[in-house]
Symmetry: C2
Subunit: 409 residues, 2 copies
Amino acid sequence: MTEKFSKIALRMKSNVIRELLKVTSKPGMISFGGGVPDPDTFPRFEMAEISKEILENEYKLTLQYGSTEGDPILREEYISLLKRESGIEGIDVDNLLVTVGSQSALDLISKILLDEDSIYFVSKPVYLGAASAFSLRSDRHVYMSLREDGADIDEVEQNLQEIENRGELNKVKFIYTISNFHNPAGVTMSLEKRKRLVEIANKYDVLIVEDDPYGDLRYEGKPIDPIFKIGGQERVLLLKTFSKILSPGLRLGIVVGNKTIVKKMVTAKQATDLCTPSLTQRIAARYLQRYDLLSQIEPTIALYREKKDLMLAELERSFGSMEGFHWTKPEGGLFIWFTLPEGFDTAEMLERGKAANILFVPGEAFSLDNTCNNSMRLSFCLPPREDIIEGVRRLKKIVVEYGKEKNLL
Amino acid sequence: MTEKFSKIALRMKSNVIRELLKVTSKPGMISFGGGVPDPDTFPRFEMAEISKEILENEYKLTLQYGSTEGDPILREEYISLLKRESGIEGIDVDNLLVTVGSQSALDLISKILLDEDSIYFVSKPVYLGAASAFSLRSDRHVYMSLREDGADIDEVEQNLQEIENRGELNKVKFIYTISNFHNPAGVTMSLEKRKRLVEIANKYDVLIVEDDPYGDLRYEGKPIDPIFKIGGQERVLLLKTFSKILSPGLRLGIVVGNKTIVKKMVTAKQATDLCTPSLTQRIAARYLQRYDLLSQIEPTIALYREKKDLMLAELERSFGSMEGFHWTKPEGGLFIWFTLPEGFDTAEMLERGKAANILFVPGEAFSLDNTCNNSMRLSFCLPPREDIIEGVRRLKKIVVEYGKEKNLL
């Protein structure tokens, strides 16, 4: 049958992180792998109560097909959440679309914007899920190097200028960026850079896709205005999700954008999955109506902050004095990007990690050109305190063994 | 922004049925439109109980990301359901994939099999959702005419032979068919034709995609072996769904096929929506473990049978003596295909229907070449008895008025 596969099917690569999930459950395994939140932080009793209630009393909605656009109550509630949280105003329900997680939003964006010869900008390292959704339609990506304060905007401008010079500016469809606590890099784009990015996008008439799954999980420092708020709905498409704050199991993503784009995404969604499940949408809607999500996640934030600080401290203790080892210090989110000296191959090291019961995601998984080999992504949110300590200890052991064997240390 | 849209985005058409849903809620409206089951038939109290329980006790699974392949318990249970129901054997969990409704399965099939120049076979009239998913990747469809006993297999063979003669057989990816109680036509493929279709597919080495959302809703006659059972997993990909028997609001589709194809669909799904919601999958899994789905749907079958017989009787009463009016007599499912004499334009008539508070789906919506204009799809499952009677009365009034005005009667 394989000779029947489409060209894109033949070039599809299985998602390393999804594959990692399968070995995570091995007894004794400590995983810094998946970007998996801690399910103990989710309001399960409240959701259980709501779920029972809406299945019994609102079954004509919760058990039925819903509109492709999404539950109207959920969209209304989300508008008010965006206002309270980020001061975003001037949008109504037609600016919002509810998707099956943000991954589905990325798939829809890919469908409505990309042709085979379309160009798009992504960071390096890049979020795997975005890269795979986009590359299904076009592999013409342009990299943006990541710094501690976000993408290198000078480089973005230079690249756009070059593309314009060669007469291909009309092929540039969007700049994709994770504004807060980048996955996998952990870095956040500064306010100044956000403003410059919007200016450049205006100048070259390019859409910005701002993916912000982690913005609510800020552990220190002051929140920065979303690019969407700076650039407005005509310039920026904002992707949000409930996966890190209410539950990934619900699979709920929210797209906020100008009505023409949202409407086209709705049409694409009709041919993709008809509609997001009615039940999970109404659970989230009623939850937002009854509880204050932002104060509910305060204990989660405290918990993750502590784990993040612990992992940073353990990394410092284990690798602080070793030359060429460095890591990002995120102010929120789920990830630390750990870079080793040149020559270390984290993909190869993962096999040793599996044997030693410690998982991480090799940096290569976040590149489209088999680079980032000497980095790895570490997630601190799921493992308990003692596993963070023990996990970094195991990591150190592997690093030292591998480094000595390869004459890198 | 519209100049940024992809070529496929520019040719996307909004789904007429989804648009119809929006006017369905108008007071006084009777809808024969959507293929929407009656939510009163679903076991809401059982599902409410299960939902509460699994959110409280199995929250580490139900609120977390799941595997892309789907809930293992749900897949195990579904294997045993397929065996009990259709005698399908010789499959294990790796032959199954859980999708966000069957629509998502169609999207994944489109992604993994179709290139821009790929050829696929669909019926005429065609199920809208399939046509729109496939046409996102290729518009090279070949029609199969529908008869009372299913697609015209001679025509299929003749077309395959012609394609082979011109050296394009390797471009033919699949034959898509709804085996039972076709949407929109209501017809069922006979056993003889199923066997011949498999023979021909074997001869020309073409995959059959058997979509069977309605097979469990048989009101009379004897069940016919699925094409999947006749042709086997190397030849046939089977799509099933919980939407008509447990609830469309859960958005659960099941793909059954050979492991190579299922695995490739899993990879495509990773880039499409990561995984189907864990909560809705576990609700269905526990339901299948605790209750006998097939006996639970018996009252539903009785209810729908009565409504179907009533609509057929009302059609006979209103149109039986009118020349050139005919309709299919389905043995199950949700739809009757009602054909009027040449010259009637059901799309134009729909506007009158909206004004007269009666909705149906114009035949044109089920064609890829703006034909089927003198047919319409009628669904009998959702409206109460009195609305079926009154609805057909309103339909008659519109038909007579339109027919006289256009000198067709």
